[in-house]
């Protein structure tokens, strides 16, 4: 049976979701997997919801993950997580960045941001991990390295050699940002309590 791992990444335009998906895809290819990745550009990106599908394994056909077959939901924003819970397979892992971005209807005072999403997720999903990636990025020395710090946490869930990750980060980031991002990645990769 062809075994493919499916990661759905979700977030808000501007959070670096696409760059994170580039790093993960590159690392997977370097680790010897077939890889496909898909997202939408253009109108959908102007501050709206962003998702990107990353799939790897022996042979990948579809560039999109079938609903109900997501193995890891990797979400950069609390509310966005809830939008895509239905895509997860039974027993899938759920990694969530501890960050809130208010949607327009909330900033306009028409809707409210749901309370305690992390608590709800923890009670419903046994394989849930909340990652304080903004704090890790700050600790690494650059608050903008949130996405790479968060990828560090994801790397614990994937059996990929460390040097594939490093090579992917070096390829995908401008030289002057590599060092701080490698540090953010390493800090994210350490299991926190």
């Amino acid at each position: 049976m062809n075994s493919v791992t499916n990661i759905l990444m979700a977030g808000v335009g501007g959070q670096g979701v696409i760059l994170a998906s580039e790093i993960v895809s590159e690392a997977m290819m370097r680790a010897g997997h077939d890889v496909k990745k898909s997202e939408v550009h253009g109108m959908a990106q102007r501050g709206g919801s962003v998702t990107t599908h990353v799939r790897f394994g022996e042979k990948v056909f579809s560039p999109l993950i079938k609903d109900g077959e997501v193995d890891i939901l990797f979400s950069f924003e609390l509310l966005e997580t809830v939008r895509y819970l239905g895509t997860m397979r039974e027993g899938a892992s759920l990694l969530v960045n501890a960050h809130k971005i208010l949607p327009p209807s909330v900033t306009l005072g028409k809707d409210s941001y749901p309370d305690d999403i992390a608590g709800l997720l923890a009670s419903r999903y046994p394989r849930f991990e909340l990652v304080d990636a903004p704090a890790i990025a700050l600790q690494a020395g650059n608050p903008r390295a949130v996405n790479v710090a968060f990828v560090g946490a994801l790397s614990r869930y994937l059996d990929v050699p460390e040097d594939s990750w490093h090579a992917a980060i070096e390829k995908m980031l401008p030289p002057k940002l590599v060092e701080v991002n490698l540090k953010a990645f390493a800090l994210g990769r350490e299991k926190q309590n």
């Binding site: 550009h41 999109l64 966005e80 809830v82 939008r83 239905g86 327009p104 900033t107 306009l108 005072g109």
Partner: protein, 584 residues
């Protein structure tokens, strides 16, 4: 060497490996990144043309002159380029001419969902359809070979899920970029006078028969014979979805969308028990296969509208819908796209809304002005339609129109196809006011250069279109310039111009806030003095992501400004209590 490439990166790489000498396009999602990637190959002359018709004509001219040429566009761009397209099928080419059409099933960033495979049949031009990035690269090269072998333009069709998906590609060395050949003079082939066109048409028909024979021999129209209980004919990503859902079924994977390989289809149909055609959008294959007298299941069970996904094949074939788990929360606030903080369009739409004008709109970032809370655009049809439709509104309404309707169009869209509409207004004496939102870039598709920006795709300084001079030359006597961040100026100038019984143009000029070359450090950020805020929510009516509402503060709630503020001043001009102040 193997690398991960998007379909668009692979198209560009394939063009380079094929020795292309000229590439032309107008930006449009999901095709834009093809030319953005082609500029890295210094051997290729690449340009952003003012529109797709020009791009195709530039490419055709290059091909006639003996250089391999590429034109790229989104699906609706082919509508603009359709005039040269149909006749290029008659003239044929010199060196190879390839047209990449990038369709947008699901309309992620488009105004319609047309299926451009129909253009192949309509214009009698062969079409290849890749199913991943490797094929995207390979098929561009193959398309050039076919173009020269059969003396015809060749389409390569992409979709959003090909153009914007990445997969692994094996790179190859480029073919030698040949020196341009001397231009061939061939009256009967290239001068489409009726007598010559009459001679060319039978040549086109013979070419289609030759191409149909090629399609049957073409090994990438691939028979994959496995379990013969179910046989599926598919192409593009639809093939990938079906192959994943039915790994053991038999497939006829079409790599050439037109013309179809009739013998292969008949053979495949005879070898499987139940035959399906699994194709996104129109029943393009299905109708042709039925016309061959073959019984097939297609759009009875698979949708015509929207893009396919990996569950579409099994839902259609088995009838079983995937189970939906109960949602964690009953309601989630939506997160629609929004104009950026500091966007120069925001204040214009706010004023248009307060003036209750009917706004004939157009295509770009500013189409977001149609959405709440601005809600100040009332039509959006196609590139350039704002201007000409405003003329029609003016003529239908007569004097009733005075002070009621304006056209709003972006700079790049105006250059693309607003100029002729404005000429019509001047010539036929419409009393329309056209507002050109000049943010000095093609913003929506990711900030591409155009004739009004002063630079080319290849980074060279260029002549910069002078809109005021152009408008006057067209015959528009009243051309005004406004600062879109000065709301009182914007309001008073619009007021004067819409009440004038003559044509006028208002140029609202300020660079896109994401414009890298014209980037300015944000002015001092604003803040709201909570003690002075009376909770009237007027500042929320501009839909700025930097302003948020805090219902628990003050007597009736209070607004706050966050770190996204660029200091554009628009909210401060709206605040009735002057509670919005500059600096900390």
């Amino acid at each position: 060497m193997k690398v991960l490439l998007s379909g668009n990166e692979a198209f560009a790489r394939g063009a380079w490996e094929a020795g292309v000498s000229v590439a032309a396009a107008y930006p449009g999602t999901p095709s834009t990144e093809i030319l953005e990637n082609i500029v890295q190959y210094k051997e290729i002359y690449a340009e952003w043309s003012p529109n797709e018709k020009v791009a195709l004509e530039v490419a055709l001219g290059a091909a006639i002159a003996g250089g391999r040429a590429l034109a790229c566009m989104k699906h609706v761009g082919v509508n603009v380029a359709a005039d040269p397209l149909f006749t290029a099928a008659y003239t044929g080419v010199g060196a190879g001419l390839v047209i990449i059409t990038a369709d947008d099933p699901e309309m992620h960033s488009s105004q319609n969902e047309q299926d451009n495979r129909n253009y192949a049949k309509f214009a009698k031009i062969p079409m290849l359809e890749p199913a991943d990035s490797q094929e995207a690269k390979d098929f561009v090269k193959l398309a050039f070979e076919l173009s020269e072998r059969f003396d015809t333009p060749v389409f390569v069709r992409s979709t959003t899920r090909i153009s914007h998906a990445k997969s692994i590609v094996a790179l190859a060395e480029p073919e030698k970029h040949a020196a341009p050949a001397a231009i061939e003079r061939n009256f009967e082939k290239f001068v489409m006078l009726p007598r010559n066109a009459r001679m060319r048409h039978p040549i086109v028909e013979q070419r289609m028969r030759d191409l149909a024979a090629f399609a049957d021999a073409f090994e990438r129209n691939e028979l994959i014979m496995q379990d013969t209980g179910i046989g599926i004919i598919a192409s593009g990503t639809a093939y990938q979805y079906a192959r994943e859902s039915y790994p053991d079924a038999s497939f006829l994977k079409l790599s050439m969308a037109f013309p179809l390989p009739e013998k292969k289809i008949r053979e495949f149909a005879s070898r499987v028990d139940k035959l399906y055609v699994f194709e996104e959008l129109d029943p393009f294959y299905e109708d042709q296969i039925r016309a061959m007298g073959i019984s097939v299941t297609g759009k009875q069970v698979f949708p015509i509208c929207g893009e396919f996904n990996p569950a579409t094949a099994s839902t259609g074939i088995s009838g079983a819908k995937p189970a939906q788990a109960a949602p964690l929360l009953d309601y989630l606030p939506p997160r629609p796209p929004n104009m950026c903080p500091g966007c120069p369009h925001r204040g214009i739409f706010y004023i248009l809304k307060t003036m209750k004008l009917f706004v004939s709109g157009d295509i770009g970032c500013y189409t977001l002005g149609a959405l709440p809370p601005l809600s100040a655009m009332h039509t959006c049809i196609c590139m350039g339609a704002s201007v000409s439709a405003a003329m029609g509104m003016d003529k239908a309404l007569g004097d009733n129109n005075l002070g009621k309707a304006v056209a709003v169009i972006g700079d790049s869209t105006f250059v693309h196809s607003g100029i002729t509409g404005l000429l019509d207004i001047a010539y036929n004496q419409g009393a329309c006011t056209v507002i050109i939102l000049d943010n000095r870039i093609t913003a929506m598709t990711g900030r591409q250069e155009h004739p009004g920006t002063g630079f080319t795709l290849m980074g060279k300084p260029a002549k910069q279109l002078d809109y005021a001079v152009l408008c006057r030359a067209l015959g528009i006597e009243h051309v005004r310039t406004v600062n879109p961040y000065d709301l009182e100026q914007v309001r008073s100038v619009i007021e004067e111009e819409v009440n004038r019984p003559e044509a006028s143009v208002i140029l609202a000029q300020a660079p896109c806030v994401l414009h890298r070359r014209e980037y300015k450090e944000p002015g001092p950020a604003f803040h709201i003095e909570v003690a002075e805020c009376i909770g009237c929510r007027a500042c929320l009516q501009i839909g700025c992501p930097a302003i948020s509402w805090h219902p628990d503060e003050g007597a009736k709630g209070a607004a706050h400004i966050n770190t996204l503020c660029t200091g554009c001043t628009v909210c401060a001009q709206i605040c009735k209590k002057s509670a919005i102040k500059s600096g900390k």
